[in-house]
């Protein structure tokens, strides 16, 4: 077995979820992840806890969704809900054999399925919980890598000194929290927005692994200027590339894309909130060096920022409401992020890394 699987399990059990004696843990896997789940079971037992492994294989989820219109309706799994209510810790392992397995599911059924699961999700949010990923051929394929390359990539992003990573994120959070105005400049980019009264959140790996992001919510009517993004966005199976947005009083007034422009504009026109920014995120994980078409990892790429059109997160006191939340990423290896006129990040370096 790859010894990095054991290290991954240690990080999840001890760092992310802080499992202690008497804890009950639920682990969900998809098609793979059995080895990681086994290592979690072993380490949780060493800490004096117990684990149940639930399998949600991709073809099973698909079969359930396919059969739903013909069935007596999606029942609510009371028995699963009781288990979730009783658990202390939840670890979800993304381990699909096929990232596109739900591609052709009837959208109404999918929404119905998501809604049905809402009480379970609400219950999970009360627990110590963490989402993670284990390398599979499907993810490697999505990333355009061999499985071996992808393993190196994923473990490079996960097996890090998280205390030190958290230190960096808290340092950035402090600066952002003190600041009122953010300016992003660079290639075909000059955008200003206000973050006054908002709170920055440091995603230090307690809820996702890999992690590495500090995010906040721009003030709704504050964005002014234009920005070009150089990382593709995948929206329900379609790529949007080369996005350029112009903002006036917080709203998108011009939008274009080299690829997928029609989809981009449809998304922007979803509702009032989808024309405004819901999030400004700063990626801090330098173990994530490249775009792999997986938003959980992409948005944490070190030395990137991302803006999301649409819904804002309440934990950063954002108030924009929308049915969409579309993250768009921009690498900052050239360009600058300024907070109240002071450099936070320039040409891929933090202010404190710059030669003076």
């Amino acid at each position: 077995m790859d010894p990095r699987i054991t290290e991954h399990a240690h990080i999840l059990v001890d760092y992310s979820c802080e499992v202690k004696e008497g804890d009950h843990v639920v682990v969900t896997i998809e098609d793979h992840g059995t080895e990681l789940a086994r290592e979690i079971v072993r380490i949780v037992a060493l800490r004096g806890g117990t684990t149940v492994i639930v399998q949600k294989s991709s073809e099973t989820e698909r079969a359930l969704l396919d059969v739903t219109p013909a069935s007596l309706g999606l029942g609510f799994p009371d028995h699963y809900y009781e288990m979730i209510k009783t658990t202390d810790v939840y670890i979800g392992i993304r381990s699909t054999a096929n990232t596109r397995v739900l591609g052709n599911v009837d959208p109404d059924t999918f929404i119905q399925y998501q809604k049905m699961q809402n009480p379970i999700r609400q219950e999970l949010l009360k627990k110590r919980w963490c989402g993670t990923i284990t390398p599979t051929y499907a993810f490697a394929q999505e990333a355009g890598m061999s499985l071996r390359e992808y393993e190196d990539f994923v473990y490079g992003a996960i097996i890090r000194d998280w205390e030190k990573e958290a230190e960096l994120m808290y340092r950035i959070k402090e600066i952002v929290d003190r600041g009122k105005e953010v300016t992003i400049s660079g290639q075909d980019t000059d955008l200003t927005l206000s973050i006054e009264g908002r709170r920055a959140v440091a995603a230090t790996g307690k809820h996702d692994m890999p992690s590495g992001e500090v995010y906040t919510a721009p003030v709704d009517d504050s964005a002014e200027g234009y920005i070009s993004f150089d990382v593709p966005v995948m929206v329900s199976g379609s790529l949007i590339e080369g996005v350029r947005l112009t903002f006036k009083e917080g709203e998108v007034v011009e939008s274009s894309a080299e690829k997928g422009e029609r989809l981009l504009n449809t998304l922007i026109s979803t509702d009032d909130g989808s024309k405004r920014l819901g999030e400004l995120g700063i990626g801090t994980n330098r173990g994530i060096t490249t775009f792999t078409n997986n938003i959980l990892l992409d948005e944490k790429i070190g030395d990137t920022i991302h803006l999301a059109l649409g819904n804002a997160y309440p934990d950063c006191r954002g108030i924009n409401v929308s049915a969409i939340h579309m993250d768009i990423i921009k690498t900052m290896r050239t360009g600058q992020v300024l907070i109240d006129g002071e450099t936070l990040q320039k040409d891929g370096k933090w202010a404190w890394e710059l030669e003076t």
Copy 2:
């Protein structure tokens, strides 16, 4: 996918467990069984129920048991227990990748693990529950077959007209229930025992699939005579072959085996109850044609009988108590079973199949 997997799932959901609208179902799998579990999920949804799949992979179970002595002790999984208390139906799918995975586990740890699970087992017995098997390389290897052969074998045992099989079992049960004395005769065999006051149980596939057995408990001091068995017995990884037992007033007074005689005698000497018979079973599943070193299937081979030394089942009003329950099987393709002097079975045929 092998369409027999769907048929198997239909039998489990509709015949064995009689799943109906609003039912909650827990399915456990080991290493394989994902396809069967998926078909169960699909059919349960069509009936208006919900399913949770729990994975207990062989290496995970082993890792848990190996780590237990070093851990803070085996915790009780309250969260799993809550799910089991809330479920209506439980289906356990034997699907191991390695039948010997627990071979070298510390026996004390194993006993501790079994004891820890006792409340869960007791709770499960209150539900509609069924144990079944899905073909794996490990089971095929144990049976000395190729996987394809083994698939044909297992599905031949499972995909049957269970209403008709049940009819046969109830017919035999009725005869056994009316009878007082059983005589088994044949090659080097002449054994008489009393079943007066006992009740026969027809294992019609409601709790195991494949099934096919009518069993009762002999009166403790009644066995007189001798019997030779021609099917091997596997006891914790060791084969015992060519067993011959002589009984006097219900107790084994002579015992021999062509292979594994020492183990046989050790088992017989376990306690007072292990010298007496706890069960007389009659195998009725003619889809099971051969010994495959899996007691769940072996004891149901059509045209066989089996006797168990040791503990009796309360559901047939047996009272013998022992720490062991060792089934030993004898084919009856030659020989005879008589109930109160009347032929029940002769040379591999039921009384009603014999030419008159």
